[in-house]
Symmetry: C2
Subunit: 281 residues, 2 copies
Amino acid sequence: MKVIEKVSEMQNWSERERCAGKRIVLVPTMGFLHEGHLSLVREGRKRGDLLVVSLFVNPKQFAPGEDYKNYPRDLERDRKLLERESADVLLRPSVEEVYPEGHQTHVEVERLDQFLCGAFRPGHFRGVVTMVAKLFNIVRPHVAIFGLKDYQQFQMIRRMTADLNFDIEVVGHPIVRETDGLAMSSRNTYLNEPERGAALCLYRSLRKAESLVRRGERQGKPILDAVRQEIGKISLARIEYVHLCHPSSLEEVEKIDDEALLALAVWIGKARLIDNTIFKA
Amino acid sequence: MKVIEKVSEMQNWSERERCAGKRIVLVPTMGFLHEGHLSLVREGRKRGDLLVVSLFVNPKQFAPGEDYKNYPRDLERDRKLLERESADVLLRPSVEEVYPEGHQTHVEVERLDQFLCGAFRPGHFRGVVTMVAKLFNIVRPHVAIFGLKDYQQFQMIRRMTADLNFDIEVVGHPIVRETDGLAMSSRNTYLNEPERGAALCLYRSLRKAESLVRRGERQGKPILDAVRQEIGKISLARIEYVHLCHPSSLEEVEKIDDEALLALAVWIGKARLIDNTIFKA
């Protein structure tokens, strides 16, 4: 596995490989890899000839007061895991390489940013989408793969890719869960033992909603009430939002017509956890 | 000369030519070509193997109430002129091809947008820079050429290109003037005969400032006063701004230390004209 730290080296590598007819797949990550990331990597292996995994904790997607400094990092472990998955390139640029002095450009997806996490983390998606646009120009992949736990992020990146005419296929990959149902996240390391138990309420509440829908419920209110009630049982949990919305516009819906996304963000201690599920009526 | 209307056709053409080792040059225009554009086209011919000229009147860079509808257009004439200059591709997508339903992403260069025209045309540069980022992904050139009459635009595009890691060389090309000194612009067609005469005050005022600097003046105030006074003699002229600033940050300077940009925007009738010059101390 090649480790690349410089933008120009990555661009030269990609231009060469593209012109040699190779199909390049990018899996962008912030590192501290877990099974969720590795499932993206394995999906990536299947979708092209060459696999690039980027590892960069992007300061611009953390608001002041958020956990940029404490975000977990373990480069050596990540490197070994990616070696084992036979990634072709690990791209790990420094902050100075990505944001040199004078950087002042951002990319913004206007409407999709107003909902869900966008409403609670001002500037977050602007930081994400700008970074992904940069990575697209640095790596020039044919395909890029993102996890569907960050569902809004996936939709915004897909929108940005189309709107800025990047000739890249954006693929969403299903949520990977621990055996007890907790969606995998690097931030799960913030949880102590009682919190780790409490965190299961996210998954339980989604299963509850799914069972209501399976039994024929189509109205949003009883579904949302059931989710809130389930999470409300857990004293360590504090709901940030629970939303039922259209899966591509993310606009709130009052009932499930065709497809709908149920998405939630819940604080457990100092960990902000998100999860979601899609209903097909 | 190939005429291309579809984004995907342009992208496929470029990928093929890049991989055949060809160096692609892009000259983006809004059409209604004059000698200023044609000098960019000729510069472009020298800088690569294949020359793409885009022609698109970009609605997103006109604010409500500006001249989008009346902006001059003459596709047949433009096509013939480019044929004569042996451009390889004329890219002329429709508005629907460029901004399909649901488009909602923009690119913004934050600090450079606060000065000069940016301060008077809210949203203008956001529209320009977003469109250029799109064109960069549609055409995938090695080099792109812009006229220096739109000096702020040039600096913002250069900044955006670096900040988003486009692997593209952005070249600025000197202002082309009519024999009497008026900077060429598609908007000069808005001028009637007395206005056409009045419009010369922009050039005269810049020459006046240049002669002051040649005679040793380094303070901004007397230079700006002389420019305002010269334009003030013309009753048909209304100054929007006259600024002396650093040529890359565009921040105002009080005196000329090393290099400085003198830039101005003046209304003559319903034509908003801009012009500039750079002093080297």
